[in-house]
Symmetry: C2
Subunit: 295 residues, 2 copies
């Protein structure tokens, strides 16, 4: 099977052709310039290729409502030239195959589900903590969308008792992202993320917020496994602290085999730098399955 | 079409036969006694009936894992005689039809989706605030289960600035349910719920917590509509306060047509006292659809 994949990022586009196992046959990166220029590069990459499906994981916000006249477009991005650009419409002019389209973080979630740390599970949650905080959830092999798509990075949390930081989210101030993403850690400490020493108390605060968010995700979505990635989670000691706080905050209320073993329940991603592009392959595969079910 | 329905409650069982529109043809209530006695009443009610499917919405906790050897049983309930009683196994001895089984609150959620305030939507959330707080969510016509089933009533919230109440949840103290369900309001005020005057400040605190929970549900699940019921929500002025806090807390971050109009987005249930039994009909219909899809 040959699945086209596009990881549409704000700095670069990664293009690939892969298969149903997530193995990549051919791959190329091109810079994100004006839409016409970048999309010409995309067209060239796929020209003459026979594809069974194609998947696109995109920076956002994007219009995911299949009933909307602007389905497939990037909407109110700060990248002015991409505003209201319809990526999917453009691809449809020369690719005639089932097409999956979703946010980059939803793509990565499906990638971990199909090819990574959640293989074999029909439910999982993927979160990334870097410049921002994003998360995607999969249930019965389908990504959760609802009205729009989740924006789990912005939930309201209880403040850590020693934390009087006001937060940096332009909308909410001290929502989860405003308190715990990379820029919040840097604003608190006045240091670059990678320079903050391991024993700095900000990591206890960080772990408390990440754990609180995970506890709320568990209580609301009940995922079968949780994957936590992103630059901030590169700090090796944080995940252990998160697991301890999760156990403390759940307080034995939910009893499942999964929660007995938090080391296997809350894990790192397996796909690393390939999360985005393998996520796009997963989105393509998922679109193909939807198409086959309809027939 | 004839769908059997059982609302299995801690005090009474409601039994009915209804149709695909949720119309009830025949109905009976029997008290919840020992399992053998109550289930004999159930058997009698359905004896000689031709059913296309049957749905059961049950008090819990219950085992919903279809791969578990104890699927269909009530697990660690305080009602000792019902502990580990397998309701579905018993029904299967004499009913040969697709069988839906879920929690009472998930049933009510599906009931509102199929027959009530969320008709026509493929995604919604139903919450009830009474003696406890429970909620169920539906996405793409399927209830969300994941690892177990949601326990959204126990999420962690930020405390209201004027609230120093310690909360009454036996597990978490001041989780959402511990702060905002009926018993919490009564413990705070020393009054029966219905006797608390409308202008008591506890309703501002209540509305703040309910709104915070809804905002987190919106950010995590993105439901297309939210239904809020239960004894505590009988207080007519609370829902308006909740909507105002929701708008304030979202702070314009998510822009959708649904959120433009909170009066249509956050609503009361339509099924009233029939929520449970019509929910059970919906569970039966859903099981029938699953069965038909498999063929
Ligand atoms: N070793 C580190 N320790 C702590 N924070 C880090 C570390 N490396 C990166 N970060 C933080 O992660 C953020 C970048 O996250 P990353 O996931 O790599 O990229 P992005 O979110 O932009 O895709 C930066 O804000 C930085 O503060
Ligand atoms: N009019 C009211 N005002 C405030 N609280 C009320 C009112 N009526 C009932 N309650 C509260 O609701 C709870 C009962 O909730 P209800 O949804 O009727 O039942 P249950 O949750 O047991 O199914 C009680 O704890 C009571 O405190
Ligand atoms: Zn925010
Ligand atoms: Zn609790």
């Amino acid at each position: 099977m040959r699945i086209g994949a596009i990881e549409a990022g704000g700095t670069k586009f990664v293009l690939a052709i892969g298969d149903e196992k997530g193995e990549i046959e051919r791959r190329q990166e091109i810079p994100t310039e004006e839409p016409e220029r970048t999309m010409a590069g995309v067209r060239e990459f796929f020209s003459g290729e026979e594809l069974d499906a194609i998947g696109v994981g995109s920076f956002g916000p994007i219009d995911l409502d299949r009933d909307s006249p602007t389905y497939g477009s990037i909407t109110s991005t700060p990248k002015v030239k991409w505003q209201n650009y319809n990526l999917i419409e453009e691809l449809k002019t020369y690719i005639d195959a089932p097409m999956g389209f979703d946010t980059d973080v939803n793509g990565a979630a499906l990638g971990e589900a199909f090819f990574g740390s959640c293989r074999g599970l029909d439910s999982c949650l993927y979160m990334t903590i870097g410049t921002g905080i994003g998360a995607g959830a999969m249930e019965s092999w389908k990504l959760i969308h609802g009205m729009l798509h989740p924006e789990m990075g912005h939930i309201i949390l209880r403040k850590h008792k020693d934390d009087d930081f006001k937060g940096v989210c332009p909308f909410h101030g001290d929502c989860f992202e405003g308190l715990a993403a990379g820029p919040a850690l840097e604003a608190r400490t006045g240091m670059k993320g990678r320079d903050i020493p391991d024993d700095h108390k900000v990591f206890d605060i960080l772990a408390y917020y990440v754990a609180q968010a995970l506890v709320n995700y568990i209580l609301i979505l009940s995922p079968k496994r949780i994957v936590v990635g992103g630059g901030v989670m590169h700090r090796g000691h944080v995940l252990g602290m998160v697991r301890r706080y999760v156990r403390e905050l759940l307080a034995g209320y939910i009893r499942t085999p999964e929660l007995e073993d938090l080391d296997s329940y809350i894990v790192y991603p397996e796909l690393g730098n390939d999360a985005g592009i393998k996520g796009a392959i997963a989105l393509g595969l998922s679109a193909l399955e939807d198409e086959q079910r309809k027939r």
